[in-house]
Symmetry: C4
Subunit: 271 residues, 4 copies
Amino acid sequence: MSDFSATDLQARFERLRSNKLFELLVVIIVFSALLIGAKTYPLPEWSTTLLLFLDWAITIFFLVEISIRFLGEPQKRRFFHSGWNVFDTLIVVVSLIPIEDSELALIGRLVRIFRVLRMVSIIPELRTLLNSLLAALPQLGYVMLMMFIIFYIYAAVGSTFFASINETLWGDISISMLTLFRVMTFEDWTDVMYETNAVYPLSWVFYLSFIFLSAFAFLNMIIGIVVNVLEDEHRKLAMEEAAEAGEPTLRELQAEIRALAALVREQGVRR
Amino acid sequence: MSDFSATDLQARFERLRSNKLFELLVVIIVFSALLIGAKTYPLPEWSTTLLLFLDWAITIFFLVEISIRFLGEPQKRRFFHSGWNVFDTLIVVVSLIPIEDSELALIGRLVRIFRVLRMVSIIPELRTLLNSLLAALPQLGYVMLMMFIIFYIYAAVGSTFFASINETLWGDISISMLTLFRVMTFEDWTDVMYETNAVYPLSWVFYLSFIFLSAFAFLNMIIGIVVNVLEDEHRKLAMEEAAEAGEPTLRELQAEIRALAALVREQGVRR
Amino acid sequence: MSDFSATDLQARFERLRSNKLFELLVVIIVFSALLIGAKTYPLPEWSTTLLLFLDWAITIFFLVEISIRFLGEPQKRRFFHSGWNVFDTLIVVVSLIPIEDSELALIGRLVRIFRVLRMVSIIPELRTLLNSLLAALPQLGYVMLMMFIIFYIYAAVGSTFFASINETLWGDISISMLTLFRVMTFEDWTDVMYETNAVYPLSWVFYLSFIFLSAFAFLNMIIGIVVNVLEDEHRKLAMEEAAEAGEPTLRELQAEIRALAALVREQGVRR
Amino acid sequence: MSDFSATDLQARFERLRSNKLFELLVVIIVFSALLIGAKTYPLPEWSTTLLLFLDWAITIFFLVEISIRFLGEPQKRRFFHSGWNVFDTLIVVVSLIPIEDSELALIGRLVRIFRVLRMVSIIPELRTLLNSLLAALPQLGYVMLMMFIIFYIYAAVGSTFFASINETLWGDISISMLTLFRVMTFEDWTDVMYETNAVYPLSWVFYLSFIFLSAFAFLNMIIGIVVNVLEDEHRKLAMEEAAEAGEPTLRELQAEIRALAALVREQGVRR
């Protein structure tokens, strides 16, 4: 009997989960995001208490929502197989810890900010957008490694020669890599160059070769790959549409011609 | 009789509307644009009166033009269905209000500037250009939302941690979003970073992750989508050309092969 | 007899024109370019005379070369139909005018610099590159007009509101357009914005809407068009290659199937 | 007998070369890269000796590795046909020279930094990436030449007119080309322009025409070519996949239809 009632309860939760009521969630998340924004403005005394109250209301709402989703899941283990469910649970759990300490308060605020990311977890279109972004990453893996090697070599050369000229820009290899990223974005790169050019008159070769290697070639490569990935998906879609519209493949045409040839041959034999 | 004369008058207006005389309108708009430009230069005393006179002449010309177009429209209600007609009427009506006040004078000048936009409303090629731009927007809808969420989260984090460092750049969430847009365009972003890096030595992670997420991934995505949209139109055109040139589809070929097979089978039976 | 000798002479000039000897021209142009570069460095007294002598030698060489080409042309009138020939002749003629005046001397140096452009006129690959660039321009015509209208309207608004804030940046409509171009290239655009934002707190709407309209949408459009133009040429090439390789079109296949059907039908009738 | 043992030895080296043991090499190179990075940080006294020891250990490891590869090569002459082998050997040989002099020490450090490039020589994916980059270069050859001509002409004009205004930016033709590259990257280009605009009020034409010619047209061209190269490879891959999946070509279909027609004709004759 208890087993039956449990299944019954679960089914009811499941229905509740797929219910239109859950569209309320989007409104709550937007409201929670506005709350976060409001906190960054100077506010009157009385509103602080109100905000604190609303914050707890949202935390409790999220706790209830995730509990319903968990109870509505037929197989409890599979619930945590989804990265998004783990993320949602973490956000709620960390929000529950009462933090008064000024240092931890910042972390508490950070967690409340990350609640906005739940927007991505509940809108399917945003989830697929993020997934397609993540799907493009492995394709870029070796380009990234190549980029890193170029950055590393130039940063090593940079900190070897220029560290004595400007400690802030070329002090050690990690600072040098940051400076090189700055050069790659063309951000006041000539100021960096003119400074070292005064000591090593040929240092412009260092900067120009780096800019050509990194910015031009690699950025184009990345654009190329991204464009290709998008075209792939586009082509896939077009192919699916063609298949749905009933356009036969060349292989199907070949099969039909062969069947016809067999028919002709057979009739020749029969006669 | 009065009904007949009204129709007659309307037909005459309609003819006038499609008349070559309306090409004059382009010249008047260009002239009105030049007038707006001329006003930004220091001018001698006497020319102010001349400019005022010319301005009123153009306003009256536009009033006459829109009246003719309205009277030339067979169905009066449909006239305001077109957004461009509403826009044209608004521009004329607001121009008619005499404004002497120095505060309102600026608004009066603004309306006169927007008259130049009438160039877009009368040249069909520019209208289609604007329409294709607007048609691409819904495709970008979710990318824009994603972008906004990223901006919002980073701005919330930024104003939480950096507001005490630089009130002008990170004062509240809207100012922070403006600063992040600045970082995205690489405009003196290192100045912004070095300032916060002095307090939080790991703040470069904040900037670099933001640049990677926003500038690289999303800009490429937008380019990709725009390229795809353009290719779509291009492919559509190519397909239409192929269809016009009489190239058969694979389905048509399949139908012919099947008809042939039926013929062969039929002849085999007949014998 | 005199007519014959003229034709004979012309044929000989024609042969000379297509002769390998003309490859010397490339060397002379490169040498002339190096001379121009050398003049920008501080040089010893004696070399000035040498450079002057070499300069005259090159001018005379170019004069001889263009004369041979003109005399080698069978139809004298068609010679000036080519824009490049007109350009080459102009460069030589202007170089011949002796200029001593310090003001005109600059123009003389300019003409000598433009001699380097003759490199483009004699290397066919560079000529086609320039032609394909010029061929893409009409496609961009309306985009350019749209861009100009956007620039004009924003510049008019800018000089109306901001002229009193910064005369150097927003003084009149042409200066404002230059400032807007600067904003479009993201060059210290925040400095421009912060200045006007102090007076009109909503002026960021002006800048952001301008950046979105111009930089994002239009740059992407231009990229899209250029990519399409290039793809067109690419596809044309691919199609030609496919045709050369003997791959049949779908229409040819259709014709063969129909011929086969006719054959089957004919044999059915004959029996 | 000695000949046999040599072949035997060589075969054993060859096996060793293709052995999994060589995966150790990647670890050693990464370790050597970390060592280079570590040297840029301030280190305690005792670690200098340790680093020197590790450096020699790596040098010896590389010497052994390249010897094994050389001995494992069946045809000794072909070993140096590969550019990567020559590069690897050079790195090792230069590392072996003991350098104490402070001036040469920098070169010694440079060679040790270039060891990181061996990462590219041993990971095949990075090698193909670099090769595809180099393969795109000849395609860009004439665009590069065009770009150089544009730069040269503008630099010549720039140093002719602006050298007296700012010696640091327009002193001679090579400095001017560097300044123009800066303008092309939009790096504080307005500062450069405003300075010369004060003397020559029309100098903005110089900068704007240069930016349009170089940045817009050519950058797009380069992007277009790179995109095309990538699409080519993509299409090749797609074609190979289609061929593997057994999709027949149109030519194969044509051949089958013709065979069928011959069969029908033959049967008609036989009867």
